[in-house]
Symmetry: C2
Subunit: 334 residues, 2 copies
DNA sequence: TAAAGTTACTAAACCGGTTTAGTTGATTAA
DNA sequence: TTAATCAACTAAACCGGTTTAGTAACTTTA
């Protein structure tokens, strides 16, 4: 393809490679105007495009970062990636995307692959099954920024939604509508802080309004097996007047369960979901949700990462991005 | 970060750089078993990771391709990218993603950026405003594969849904339900073959069933300005019994227009959309759609591209991926 | 007026690999 | 017995830039 190299430009302009290189890097310190002009002309004439690979070889910086997500196709992940990508492109960086498909092993392989590619840093939504591996890479000097999931309380660079406040506000919204028996549906905590914090927000709101916390109303849901108790049975046994789901797939499955059992939202039971639901406006009942800002999270994550790369620091930052309550029609006052 | 280099491995094993390099590239032709073993041990002991940048410098292949899409966040694009990415990763390639945000100038810049990065090839959903530029790059020897949009009939490598057949089948489905006045809503053709073919599929189906083609029932829609005539006015003036929309945003906006005017689907009018609608099952009326296979399109596109890169051929291939009709509840027999 | 700076360059080392063209000692064929 | 072949390596050139250490000519300062 492009075969014109620096030496050709230099020869054409009648200067040395070094001078041509200095010119191309904007260091005109000791260079006559004429020389500059001749090199500029040579570059234009020969249609010269520098080879970034050769450049990187010396620079050791690859101007590339890695992004490890669970599924690029998801509503949340794709928007995070867009934020990362926009910020990177604006700062002459490129982002390489790796899907883990929710598999910790694929996650480990992705991190290793990115290391071998010598990316300057990594942004990751980690499953939490590779903390050992990740700290090894951090110790080797690889800058890493987490997002979406906080797996434990250890110090790390991380960008998160303000889960606790969001869950608190959402729960309080339901309480203000008169709900007292609010069923909190979550994935198993498994030491994932991001999940525990939502629970705390929920518990705090109940406590503030003197509503006792009923453990029967804290339901667990699992990616593989789904609900442990079917929604209609939860209603039968524990009489919640509202569901507060903590994860889009939970919202979706709950909705399916309610539809199957002919339980109507919001007449029979209210529903408030964590995470925006695409196309909600066309739903039979448009769902009220806590909306995160994945694009902003992507931007902030890359801002932090590129900053750490540039400054070669790695002081742990935890940045919280506020959520907002998107009120639609799935919650009824009682 | 990793500072162990080939020369260190070579010294540790007591061989020359060349021998170590041969070993690492699996060329054991004239190398004793012991030597191999010593190098293997050295690599393990020193935890050596080859630098792909240095490697690429000589190889001239970057093992990277570029993907230019309009919005990585979209339902269709994100799935294409996932297909591309999976296929690339499986073949030791990496994909760099560039968003154009529907802007032809950003598209041009993306192509140039990818060229400068010396990607081995490009997969693109082009706006059609850069055909000149794209053929320049093709002439320079850059392998390019198109998808999603065929801008004119010129020879090129391209992967598309079988638009004509899909539109024919969908129209015939409506006709079999008794519809004779089917309003075809499309973006302005603007020499975009992919749009014209859908129209032809529609026209062919009408013709096969001896239904005259009424030009009033071919409506244009535009990304910036929306409908030229509001859906309710189209109904008032031309009495269609069904709408067949050619693009997800059109489906969405039509649905909004019908909702606003309190026109009920499918009781007052039927609706069939091109492109899958996320979360359709929860819609007030689940929409019947023509479903494309974006993941397969991504896989096929990268398969073709990597093949062309490897074989250094560039014979034009046009590959059609079949669509399927996803029948839900928005079309009523009359 | 000689030493010390400046200016405007260049030669050569370097980044970390791959590859080509040898080299050496042992074995085989003429 | 000597040339040819071969196995098992190595030295050095090369990929295309960046950077360091000079150098030569000219100007300034003590």
């Amino acid at each position: 393809m492009a075969k014109v190299k620096l030496i050709d430009v230099a020869r054409f302009a009648g200067v040395s490679k070094s001078t041509a290189s200095q010119f191309l890097n904007g260091r005109f310190d000791y260079m006559s105007k004429e020389t500059q002009e001749r090199i500029r002309a040579a570059v234009a004439e020969l249609d010269y495009v520098p080879n970034p690979i050769a450049r990187n070889l010396k620079a050791t910086k690859t101007k590339t970062i890695g992004v490890v997500v669970r599924d690029i196709t998801g509503f949340y992940s794709s928007r995070v990636i867009r934020g990362v990508d926009d910020y990177c492109k604006a700062n002459s960086y490129n982002a390489l995307i790796y899907n883990t498909d929710f598999d910790p092993e694929t996650e480990a392989k992705s991190i290793e692959a990115l290391y071998q590619l010598r990316v300057d840093g990594i942004i990751i939504a980690s499953s939490g099954n590779n903390t050992q591996l990740i700290s090894e890479y951090i110790n080797k000097g690889m800058p890493i920024v987490h997002f979406q999931i906080e797996n434990d309380g250890s110090e790390q660079n991380i960008i998160l939604s303000d889960y606790k406040k969001a869950a608190f506000d959402a729960t309080e919204y339901l309480i203000n509508l008169g709900h007292k028996r609010i069923c909190f549906v979550t994935q198993d905590f498994k030491n994932v802080n991001s999940r525990i914090e939502r629970y705390q927000g929920y518990a705090d709101a109940l406590s503030k309004h003197d509503i006792p916390l009923d453990d029967n109303l804290v339901q667990r849901w699992d990616r593989e097996t789904g609900f442990q108790t079917a929604p209609k049975d939860i209603i039968k046994s524990h009489a919640p007047t509202a569901f507060f789901t903590q994860h889009l797939p939970i919202t979706v499955e709950l909705l399916r369960g309610l539809n199957r059992a002919n339980i109507s939202v919001p007449d029979d039971v209210s529903l408030l979901g964590f995470d925006e639901v695409p196309m909600a406006e066309f739903f039979k009942v448009p769902i009220t949700v806590v909306k995160q800002e994945p694009y902003s999270i992507g931007v902030e994550a890359s801002k932090l990462l590129l900053n750490n790369i540039a400054k070669e620091t790695n002081i742990s930052h935890k940045i919280l991005i506020p959520c907002s309550l998107e009120i639609r029609e799935s919650c009824k006052a009682i």
